[in-house]
């Protein structure tokens, strides 16, 4: 099918999943803007999968924008850089989005706060694959779609990986930051893809976009101009289309068995935001000090897609968008999308490298009463589970503490996408039961 004929909703897909209203119109036509820099940032020392960083600065030190402030010796980790110029005022535990606390470097912004000035101006074509990977590691890149796995570790494969998939599915409702990035930064995104292809030795890149973003599909297709090594793949609008295993299966037809490594699959999936960051890291030496997030919700006065410094607190983000934090009684403030994002009760929590958005659900959209009833075996969760599990059995076993049987029902394959709980007519908190049971099953 020719790309310009494709209509909204059409496209390839996977078996399972469900349709969720998009709620994307609040921000999908608003161009990316810079948000005012906050007076204080809180940089978590652990905001990636892998070893937490150790601070390289001390309280009282002056730091410059983009200066490396923390790193670790481990292989699986990603260094941190100062998101603002200023003074380190504290290194202490600060609240995180999971409801706990994380050791953090607190920096008070001081002096002139400019946009990032390139430290170098490099042509990727003049650089070796090793140099490209170094630049990506030094910039502290992690998966920006939510996974937060260090990008360097992901692309540092010893065998070539023939296929790169750029994940622009953005299947979570409300979020539009990847959509706007594909529209407004298409050239840089394509150059970023070329960089990643060289790092992993890929022959082909597929840019995966759901067909509720036809404008982005059009722009990317035009920019690619029919080249052989890159292609836009329109995907059906279905949640959770953007999960990497389902993208690989949908696009390449390859099976993704549990525990399979990217190299073995011959396929690596990277979020479009990460790919853009790779471009900036390689060409300008720019570390991951800021990212695009969607600030959205039906009652947000100034919703939009904003470039926000890592470590900016929810409080600042909301007030910059016209939300009065005192008028949020009964509302939800969610980091990420509404299907998997975590609701916050403390607006001091800062965004991290992998935060995709800040969503405000007004009280009328909040399901406050968590009353649920027994499973009536309607089968909707089994039908819709994208990982072909039996969420009904998992939820019943977890609810009643029959932890020993959970592995037989493949609890570890659950990606916690939330589809089961979304469709459950008995309102059962299935994902919550599963998440709560996982650490207990792990101990068995």
């Amino acid at each position: 099918m020719a790309l310009n004929d494709i209509k909204e909703g059409e496209g390839k897909s996977f078996v399972g999943g469900t349709h969720v209203p998009h709620y994307k119109s609040y921000t999908d036509s608003i161009a990316i803007e810079r948000m005012a820099i906050p007076d204080e940032v809180v940089v978590h020392l652990s905001q990636h999968i892998g070893a937490p960083c150790e601070p390289l600065v001390a309280v009282g030190d002056t730091v410059m924008l983009g200066e490396k402030i923390a790193d670790a010796d481990a292989y699986i980790t990603a260094p941190l850089h100062a998101p603002v110029s200023g003074e380190v005022t504290a290194i202490e535990e600060r609240p995180n989005a999971e409801g706990g606390e994380t050791m953090s470097i607190v920096i008070a912004a001081k002096g002139e706060q400019d946009a990032y000035q390139p430290s170098v101006e490099r042509n990727p074509d003049d650089m070796s694959a090793e140099e490209l990977k170094e630049a990506i590691r030094d910039a502290g890149l992690v998966g920006m779609g939510g996974a937060a796995f260090p990008t360097y570790v992901n692309i540092n494969t010893d065998q070539p990986v023939d296929t790169l998939i750029l994940n622009g599915a953005e299947c979570e409702p409300f979020l539009t930051c990847d959509h706007r990035l594909m529209l407004e930064r298409a050239d840089e995104l394509i150059k970023g893809a070329e960089i990643l292809m060289r790092c992993i030795g890929a022959k082909k890149t597929y840019i995966a976009v759901e067909t509720n973003k036809l404008d982005a599909i059009g722009v990317l297709d035009e920019k690619l101009g029919g080249r052989d090594d890159m292609e836009v793949v329109p995907l059906a609008v279905k949640y959770p289309q953007g999960y990497k295993s389902y993208l690989i299966k949908t696009i390449t037809g390859r099976d993704v068995p549990r525990g399979a490594r990217s190299a073995a699959l011959g396929c690596i999936v990277r979020n479009v935001g990460t790919t853009f960051a790779a471009y900036e890291a390689v060409v300008y030496g720019k570390p991951l000090i800021e990212r695009i997030i969607s600030v959205t919700g039906p009652t947000v006065p100034d919703p939009g897609n904003y470039v926000v410094r890592v470590g900016t607190k929810a409080e600042h983000i909301l007030s910059e968008c016209g939300v009065d934090p005192d008028e949020l009684d009964g509302a939800k403030v969610i980091f990420g999308g509404p299907m998997t994002g975590l609701a916050q009760d403390n607006l001091e929590v800062p965004i991290v490298k992998s935060t995709t958005g800040v969503l405000v659900l007004p009280p009328e959209m909040v399901r406050e009463d968590m009353v649920y009833s027994d499973c009536v075996r309607c089968g909707l969760c089994v039908q819709r589970c994208p990982n072909w599990l039996y969420p009904n059995e998992l939820s019943i076993l977890a609810e009643h503490g029959v932890y020993g049987d959970l592995e037989d029902w493949d609890i570890w394959d659950c990606i916690e996408c939330g589809v089961c709980a979304y469709v459950c007519p008995s309102n059962r908190p299935i994902v919550h039961f599963i998440k709560r049971a996982k650490p207990i099953v792990d101990e068995l």
């Binding site: 399972g16 916050q344 009833s373 075996r377 089968g379 309102n427």
Partner: protein
Amino acid sequence: MADRLIATPPPHLKAGNTVSEAMRDVIIALIPVSLASIYFYHYYAAFLLVLCMGTAAITEIVVRAALKKRHTLGDLSAVLTGLFVALLMSPGSPWWTAVLATILAVGVAKELMGGLGWNLFNPALFGSVATIILAPWFGFLSRDLSRLNVNFGPIDAISQATPRAMLMQGASLPDYGTMLLGFPGGALSETSPLLVIIGGAFLLYRGHINWRIPVAMIGTVAVLSLLAGGDVIYEMLTGGLMLGAFFMATDWVTSPINNKGKWVFGIAIGALVAVFRFGVGATEGVAFSILIMNAFVPLIERLTKHPSFSEPAPKPATEDA
């Protein structure tokens, strides 16, 4: 800072479907055939419908109170079970059999099994079949309570033989069109196959039932009737086949969850119905067939369990000897 931000776990969105909405739709789907039964059986049908639904609600309240649980009338499942029991009754049934069937359905088959979701057997079928089996033991009831029987006057429709009995005895039935549209003689729900099918189509359209069970079940009965030399159309249009296929065998709680399991379940029920009708010469066997297969659901579930998406593909046979 806001005093009261809500921080419950994800997902934060919810599809609008609820159990009570589904139960409400099933009740709506049964309204046409209920009206047909009132059309044919007048007060006899209306009385049974009201009696069973009322008894079902009271039974649920009483039994759950005895179990120290809050009543769940709001999910409409008790009232729906009462409606089903009434529709399974013959119009001339003594009132106490209707009450007993309803109490067994809601009180025993559902609530004592742990409540909605935990029952192994379809409650309405359990209640009415158990009552048929138990009735001879309760002869004293029909004797002592007969004076309490309500008499709504004579109606030909309730004294005539049921269409199934007529078919078995080789008596001639009205033409296919009449049989499809509506012909009295059987249980309340057997008055109009067409209206039952319309109700079933409504449930399919609303997504509450899966097409595989009715197709497998009706298809199997059709094929086996043909092989047995029966009149396929009459076999389709008489007895409880349509109600069983669209409303009883598709019950969420008591049917398999998998598509594969639904096929197995539907075909097995269809085969049992044929055995009852042609093998043992019973006038009817739909209710028994479904109840028997209800008992096999846990086994069917185990045998039809599909592997996880992440299950490694079976390794190809090694080449070296």
